[in-house]
Symmetry: C2
Subunit: 246 residues, 2 copies
């Protein structure tokens, strides 16, 4: 079981923004819960659910999904290994969105009680959770900009840039990462039709900006892709490895 592994990833995300002592890290690592295996396209938290726990993604890709109208779906966030898609739920009575697996995935559910206890005992952890939530919101905000303001191929380019950085796979010039998302799902992220996604993806391929092979994304020229996407990674980093600001 690689549960520890993933809690480690989560702790790394926290400490990238907030300095935590070994003690505090241990307290977060001690969090645990029932693990669940999910097939692709399974929802594991429903809009309006009164949940008693928050999820941590151990493996696979998950998404926050909403329905602007009866017919359409909009993915408003993608979560990867080590993310907590609904940490916010520890503060709210009801889930305000549906969470689904995009691929086969494994999650654990960590009781709100445990989360809130760690926050109470270690204020620095509460601070770290706060920054984690803010970072998540910053991504949503950037997605709004992406969906609102760029043309189709650039939206895709921007998404791939973001995922590359979030998976910490960016290397000097050229690199690959595993991101097995279907074109239909890309359409739900970018608010485009799947046909148009297909054509835009092909245009990116024709331009040599990305290569896709069975879920493996290769970026032959990072600078070129970044430029095509007007990608500025500052919204993802937002690091302040200090303990408190006062």
């Amino acid at each position: 079981m690689h549960m520890d592994q993933c809690l480690n990833t989560f702790v790394a995300k926290l400490t990238s923004r907030t300095k935590l002592t070994d003690h505090e890290c241990q307290a977060v690592l001690a969090l645990g819960g029932k693990s669940e295996q999910l097939e692709a396209h399974e929802s594991f938290v429903l809009l309006g659910d009164a949940t008693m726990s928050a999820c941590l993604v151990l493996d696979g890709f998950c998404a926050r999904v909403s329905r602007p109208t009866e017919e359409s779906r909009q993915i408003t966030a993608i979560y990867i290994k080590g993310d907590m898609p609904d940490l916010y739920s520890a503060f709210l009575p009801q889930a305000n969105a549906t969470l689904e697996s995009l691929t086969r995935a494994t999650i654990i559910r960590i009781p709100h009680l445990a989360i809130r206890q760690v926050m109470r005992v270690y204020p620095a952890v509460a601070e770290a959770f706060g920054r984690y939530l803010i970072a998540d919101a910053a991504i949503t905000s950037e997605w709004l900009i992406n969906v609102g303001g760029r043309e189709a191929a650039r939206k895709l380019a921007h998404l791939f840039c973001e995922m590359a950085v979030r998976m910490a796979k960016v290397e000097a010039h050229s690199f690959s990462f595993f991101f097995p998302i279907s074109q239909t799902q890309l359409a739900e992220v970018c608010a485009l039709s799947s046909v148009h996604i297909n054509r835009s993806l092909m245009s990116l391929r024709r331009d040599g900006l990305i290569v896709v092979d069975r879920g493996m994304i290769t970026i032959p020229n990072w600078d070129a892709l970044k430029k095509a996407a007007s990608f500025d990674d500052r919204y993802l980093v937002s690091s302040r490895p200090s303990r408190f600001s006062n």
Copy 2:
């Protein structure tokens, strides 16, 4: 000076989601700072600024603005009297977006130090701030859904529904509120051209869904507008007037 008035509005927003004692409310009300008058279209926080204070809107309308490309602008949030557009900045080293006035406006800047001290002394206030940030993020997420998933006129309808609820102006059937936003600004919110906004607005007017007169919006039939927008106000309420969840 109606500074107290507006801090009251802010406290009301906090207490709608988190029960606070009189003592705790007083502590928030005691926050203060330099007040500033702004003309329309002035930016008062710049992307990347290392700020030492967070803003509270006393009067007028403000917005969070980003630039997806060189040419275009995207408004990612609108803030009204009693809102704190950048409360999050108390947790981050740098402002991650530009804040601008949409109309003439008045703001005050509250030092991060004061904010963090209230949070430290009164954990319930920290909790309330946390929920405030989550509520703000929920709105951004809903905007993503709106921009991504609805056709032009419905986007506008949804925005008007949201603003009506946020200004607490919703009455049984028919009501008015002051929302003096230009069509160019509406375009930047909805990610549409101003020409198309004009036409979509006219279509809403033709259908009798809204009446606009020099910044005064009248909604003759709330249910009809809500229906046209598929508006569900739950993302705005998210109330849990309890103190802590444990």
